[in-house]
């Protein structure tokens, strides 16, 4: 009895908790908390591992059925990797917000005064980690199924491409996923909003990956400008999303 009385008594006197001030430190604390929570949920439920990874792999196999030509597959391997990533992104984003809306947790987060920028960055971070795993698997599959080849310098370029591309995808995924989360017809609205926005990432990451795989006589050097563009994309939507997420999930 006395144990609980003391925390309860602490609050009315202490006034607004740390979440009241939008200080950067508080936002980062929230982001880490939310990201840790999301990753822990994934570790427990294994929805991404058990369902989304097989789905994305299946897409890669289906591409092979559709194109039905080893040379074409090798030539288009980078694009197919990123196309499969973007299809999977849709599923992962929907999962990320289904977790929040299933039992009213998004409302609870809002009542808890958790800062929207913190939620945005946290969910983006968790999403990015999951996407990164997915992309590595898909690249492995491209090497195995599509005979994509990877040199050491190509691998450096590839890893450098993955980071900003994944971050950018995670930012826009979280942003529009949050917007669609509370809406009617969210399943159909999300791709309509999301796919036009991720087009630059598809283009940029595919070109950079082509350079890394050395397909179509692309030189490694041709990849680096695209990495720059991906960085710009990630930075713009990182900042834009941090500012916009609050108004978008507000009801």
């Amino acid at each position: 009895m006395n144990d609980t009385a003391s925390p309860a008594s602490g609050s009315p006197a202490s006034g607004s908790p740390a979440s009241g001030s939008p200080a950067a430190a508080s936002i980062w604390r929230t982001a880490r908390l939310v990201a840790g929570k999301d990753l822990r949920i994934e570790r427990r439920s294994r929805v991404i591992v058990n369902q989304v990874l097989p789905f994305a792999s299946l897409v890669m196999v289906l591409f092979a059925f559709a194109l039905d030509n080893d040379e074409v597959l090798q030539r288009t391997a980078p694009g197919l990797v990123w196309l499969a990533t973007i299809f999977a992104l849709l599923v992962v984003v929907q999962r990320a917000f289904a977790v929040e809306t299933a039992d009213g947790a998004l409302d609870a987060l809002r009542v808890a005064g958790v800062s929207p920028p913190g939620i945005f960055l946290g969910k983006s971070l968790a999403l990015a980690v999951q996407l990164l795993v997915l992309e590595l698997l898909l690249i492995g599959l491209a090497v195995v199924l599509y005979e994509a080849t990877l040199t050491a310098t190509g691998a450096v370029l590839l890893v450098t491409t993955l980071l900003p591309a994944t971050t950018g995808l995670a930012f826009v995924g979280t942003l529009y996923g949050g917007l669609a989360a509370g809406a009617r017809g969210r399943e159909t609205l999300l791709p309509l909003l999301l796919f036009p926005v991720v087009a630059p990432v598809l283009i940029g990451a595919t070109r950079a990956t082509e350079a890394a795989f050395g397909v179509g006589h692309a030189a490694i050097d041709e990849g680096w400008p695209w990495v720059g563009m991906l960085l710009v994309f990630a930075a713009l939507f990182g900042v834009g999303g941090t500012l916009a997420f609050g108004p978008l999930i507000e009801e």
Binding site: L189, L193, P196, A199, R207, M229, L248
Partner: protein
């Protein structure tokens, strides 16, 4: 805006208004159009009977009527010049005529999206300022989407003749297509429901995010094409030697479509204003109904009593939140 405070004055009349309003909500715009055709707008006797105060005036003013007439004239003259008077191009022949419609609409489409972005920013800048900015943004996006569709259609028809293909992966063409899809998404977000302020805030943010997106799309498509093939396909054999008549026609097309744009936005944002106002009045009626639920006579035997009460058209039992189409 003051419309939030305004309703409540005309309680007795709202009953009928609400019913009409409900009809709109259920049957959509076609139905309201039916109503409109049955009577003349300005002096309709039926409207006077329905609403003693309103004379049924629409969204036109002297200015928009003059502008509308001028637009009609300009369009007529444009058709004459574009299809008859202006000469065929030396290189392209008659095909150049398509370009007048194409350039006129693409100019307006891009103008519309700039206006949408600016009005959205204006709405967000002073939050308390006005829903008018939101309505202008919405009206502008609507006509922008239509003109973008016309642009893409005329452009691909022209391309089929000139380049032998309906579509080229040129940066401008691709950006235009993305803009088109993005603003279809914007209009979908506008239709998500909620209060007027919610709609305005959400759609304004989405419009500003589109401003982030479009340059990135344009930039990435441009370097994509420049790396992998000649960008010249879009500009190679399209040299147009414009004589004075052709230049005038081009200018005329731009002016005529811009006039149409201004006329449309003026009308449409007034329509949206009326729609919002009717929603608010619907809320007044719903409030009155809701309050009447609580009166002793109504609460005793809710369904039957409420139905016979003049102000309550919907029975208390049916007004649970889930019944509402928007909730």
């Amino acid at each position: 805006m003051s419309e939030r405070q305004r309703p409540g004055r005309e309680q007795p009349r709202q009953h009928e208004q609400h019913e009409q309003h409900e009809q709109h909500e259920q049957h959509g715009n076609e139905d309201s159009a039916h109503v409109a055709t049955t009577q003349t707008p300005l002096t309709g006797p039926g409207s006077a009977a329905t609403s003693p105060v309103g004379n049924g005036a629409g969204t036109g003013t002297r200015f928009t009527r003059i502008l509308g007439a001028l637009t009609l004239v300009a369009m007529g003259v444009l058709a004459l010049f574009a299809l008859v008077i202006s000469p065929p191009d030396v290189v392209q022949g008659e095909t150049v005529r398509i370009l007048y419609a194409h350039v006129g609409t693409v100019w307006v489409a891009y103008l519309a999206f700039v206006v949408t972005a600016v009005s959205s920013a204006a709405y967000l800048w002073k939050r308390t300022s006005s829903l008018t900015w939101d309505r202008i943004a919405g009206a502008s996006a609507e006509i922008g989407v239509l003109f973008m569709a016309i642009t893409l259609l005329t452009g691909s028809l022209w391309g089929r003749i000139t380049w032998g293909t309906f579509w080229v992966w040129d940066a401008r063409v691709t950006t235009t297509a993305f803009l088109f899809i993005t603003y279809i998404g914007y209009l979908a977000v506008r239709g998500l429901g909620g209060t007027h302020q919610q709609r305005a805030r959400r759609s304004a943010v989405v419009a500003l995010l589109a401003v982030l997106e479009i340059p990135l799309v344009h930039f990435s498509v441009r370097i994509w094409r420049s790396v992998h093939q000649d960008a010249s396909v879009a500009t190679g054999n399209t040299d147009v030697k414009l004589d004075d008549t052709m230049l005038f026609t081009l200018l005329l097309a731009t002016v005529a479509f811009s006039m149409l744009y201004v006329w449309y936005v003026l009308h449409r944002q007034r329509v949206l204003h009326l729609q919002d106002l009717l929603d608010d009045k619907g809320l007044d009626l719903a409030l009155a109904e809701r309050r009447s639920e609580g009166r002793p006579d109504a609460s005793a035997a809710a369904p039957t009593t409420a139905a016979s009460t003049p102000t309550a058209t919907v029975s208390a039992a049916s007004t649970v939140p889930t019944k509402d189409p928007v909730s």
